[in-house]
């Protein structure tokens, strides 16, 4: 195909646009770490000098540590539970001829589009009807449902990538379904499982809306941040905390997407 001069110019224009797009996408998030090192209390230019004071300040906050461990706890349980639920579901969706598969997939992907607010208040109302007290457990329930679509979407390409004959060969050689799962399926989808654990942990760790409605007296980390936003003098410390969370989330999600082979399989995920 001949590439004319106009085409080349368009390319360059597009490339500049793309760089600008990425810059705008990242700009707000990069301001957080920038100001977290600012010596001044107020978030404004020009910066007043570099300090690590705000980070040191985090070390002494008991409620923050408590919230952190709460988030950690919920995140771990949610990551494990949603992945455990997602593995058989993804297998069935990827490998079995199921009548009504489209409807099932649509239903499972529902939390992606239901506004978090509606989901939150609905779950709150239901749990209230059952007389449940809001706690970390109720947050966990909400997060598992929220994370399931992501876990399944992460695992699906892995299952689709398994050569069907591998599992058949195992059965043929005398292993039943359970042992075939452990000896053949799990080693093959291990990267997907790992990616799912990392991703769902991060989603739960960062999630605010559901936690807002379902957490009761036990605050998670985002809840803690929300509650501290009212105090301007605490703002720089919050920026320091947010920086730590952002770095942590970026690393986790980047690792997860890389392991899962995100992008290389984007064609197939288009079904959502």
């Amino acid at each position: 195909m001949a590439v004319g001069g106009a085409f080349g110019r368009m390319n360059r224009g597009l490339a500049i646009y793309a760089v600008a797009f990425v810059a705008v996408l990242y700009l707000p998030i990069l301001l957080i770490p920038l100001f977290s090192f600012n010596a001044g209390v107020y978030v404004k230019f020009p910066l007043e000098g570099v300090t690590l004071r705000w980070y040191a300040d985090l070390a002494g906050r008991e409620t923050l540590h408590h919230a952190f461990f709460n988030s950690l706890q919920v995140g771990l349980v949610v990551a494990i539970m949603s992945t455990v639920l997602a593995v058989p579901a993804a297998k069935a969706i990827a490998r079995y001829r199921l009548p009504g598969k489209r409807a099932i997939v649509g239903f499972i992907m529902l939390p992606l589009v239901v506004p978090g607010l509606i989901f939150g208040v609905a779950l709150l109302t239901l749990l209230n009807r059952f007389g449940a007290t809001m706690s970390l457990a109720t947050v966990g329930i909400g997060h598992v449902v929220l994370c399931l679509p992501f876990a399944i979407a992460t695992l699906l390409p892995r299952f689709e990538g398994i050569d069907r004959s591998m599992e058949e060969a195992s059965a043929d050689l005398g292993e039943n379904a359970w042992w075939t799962f452990w000896r053949i399926t799990v080693p093959t989808i291990l990267p997907g499982i790992l990616a799912s654990l990392l991703l769902t942990f991060t989603i739960s760790f960062d999630e605010f809306i559901l936690a807002f409605f379902l957490s009761g007296t036990e605050a998670t980390l985002p809840m803690y941040i929300w509650s501290q936003l009212r105090f301007p003098q605490d703002f720089p410390s919050l920026l320091a905390l947010a920086t730590l969370i952002l770095v942590f989330s970026f690393v986790m999600v980047f690792a997860s997407l890389r392991i899962a082979g995100f992008g290389r399989t984007a064609r197939r995920e288009g079904a959502i």
Partner: protein, 360 residues
């Protein structure tokens, strides 16, 4: 050994296998031959247990098995793509099925060594699947299945992925292995030459049905219908009409003339159309009119194709639109005898070379 009774399989509205019944005997090399979509692979997968039957029964080694899960069936399979587990090395692949049998580790290792010797890959134990060639993977897949001493070994197009030279070599090895071990082999293939070379008996499948089950010689010499005849080697087909007067039946064949019809069961009535088949090597060529009263026809040489030491001649005969193909050996020093294209030529054939095909 395997008895397939009225087995049907449909995928939604598609009927992949329609009412197939077969008996496969102990120690036999049996092939399922057919084009893609003929249902042969589906049938094999039902024997292995990967596809449940829609209806009908499968008896393996005296046990009714159509609902038995695959891991309990006394059959093992060599997959088309070999399905060598990529995360295990060759040794662990071969030993995979031994774990369930409760065999002690040292004994397992000895068995694997034995197998590695059998497939002539003694030093390959530590390699991974991606370090093996196609032929080596095929041997590992064989070893992995045979170590379990199956009653029946199923082979799904095992040679399809190999190049021609390797395929010929593996054919010989497969055949000798089967004779050495005495295990029943069931082979699925679309390659008629492979099926005829390897098998004791062949079932020809088309559109989900078994068309004919016979020995290779039987299939070649007495194909039951046009499909089998055409599938197994080259064939000339001639349309004819039956002339019946009482018990005696004659056949008018286009281009070949009138000939007696052997129809003991009286399948044909007067005026029925019939198809006669004759292999290209069934004709004898004569440069001048031969002295035979029956079975002579004059033609004209149209074209010739060289096939190594043989020639395929296309000869036009009167009363038939398509040309007749005739295969002949090129004798050394017979160049002078070669006829020019367009020159007249006479064909004769022995009466028993003609096959009258079943009514369709």
């Amino acid at each position: 050994m395997i008895s397939i009774r009225n087995v049907c399989k449909s995928f939604g509205r598609v009927q992949a296998v329609r009412d197939v019944s077969l008996e496969i005997h102990q120690g036999e090399f049996f092939s399922l031959l057919g084009a893609s979509g003929s249902g042969k692979t589906t049938l094999l997968r039902m024997i292995a247990g990967f596809e449940p039957v829609t209806s009908g029964h499968i008896v393996i080694d005296g046990q009714r098995s159509e609902d038995m899960p695959p891991h309990l069936r006394p059959v093992n399979m060599v997959f088309q793509n070999y399905a060598i587990f990529p995360h295990l090395n060759v040794r662990d692949n071969i030993a995979y099925g031994l774990r369930r049998l409760g065999i002690a580790r040292p004994r397992q290792a000895a068995m694997v060594d034995e197998m590695l010797d059998l497939i002539a890959l003694p030093s390959y134990g530590d390699r991974r699947a991606n370090q093996l060639s196609g032929g080596q993977m095929q041997r590992v897949a064989l070893a992995r299945a045979l170590i379990l001493k199956p009653k029946v070994l199923l082979l799904d197009e095992p040679l399809g992925a190999l190049d021609k030279q390797l395929r010929d070599q593996m054919q010989l090895e497969l055949r000798s292995l089967q004779q050495k071990l005495g295990i029943t082999f069931v082979l699925v293939t679309h390659d008629q030459e492979e099926a005829l070379t390897l098998s004791d008996r062949v079932a020809v499948m088309a559109e989900g049905r078994v068309v004919q089950v016979d020995t290779p010689a039987g299939l070649y010499d007495t194909p039951r219908n046009r499909l089998v005849a055409g599938f197994v080697g080259n064939m000339n087909f001639f349309d004819g009409t039956v002339r019946r007067t009482g018990a005696e039946a004659l056949l008018d064949v286009e281009g070949l003339g009138r000939m007696p019809l052997n129809d003991p069961v009286g399948a044909f009535r007067d005026g029925d159309p019939a198809v006669v088949a004759l292999r290209p090597e069934g004709f004898t060529l004569h440069p001048s009119p031969p002295a035979a009263a029956f079975g002579v026809v004059q033609g004209r040489l149209q074209a010739r194709q060289y096939l190594g030491g043989r020639q395929l001649l296309h000869i036009a005969i009167e009363g038939r639109t398509a040309s007749v193909t005739v295969l002949r050996q090129i004798a050394r020093g017979a160049e002078a005898e070669q006829m020019a294209e367009g020159s007249p030529i006479w064909l004769t054939w022995p009466q028993d070379a003609l096959v009258v095909l079943e009514k369709e």
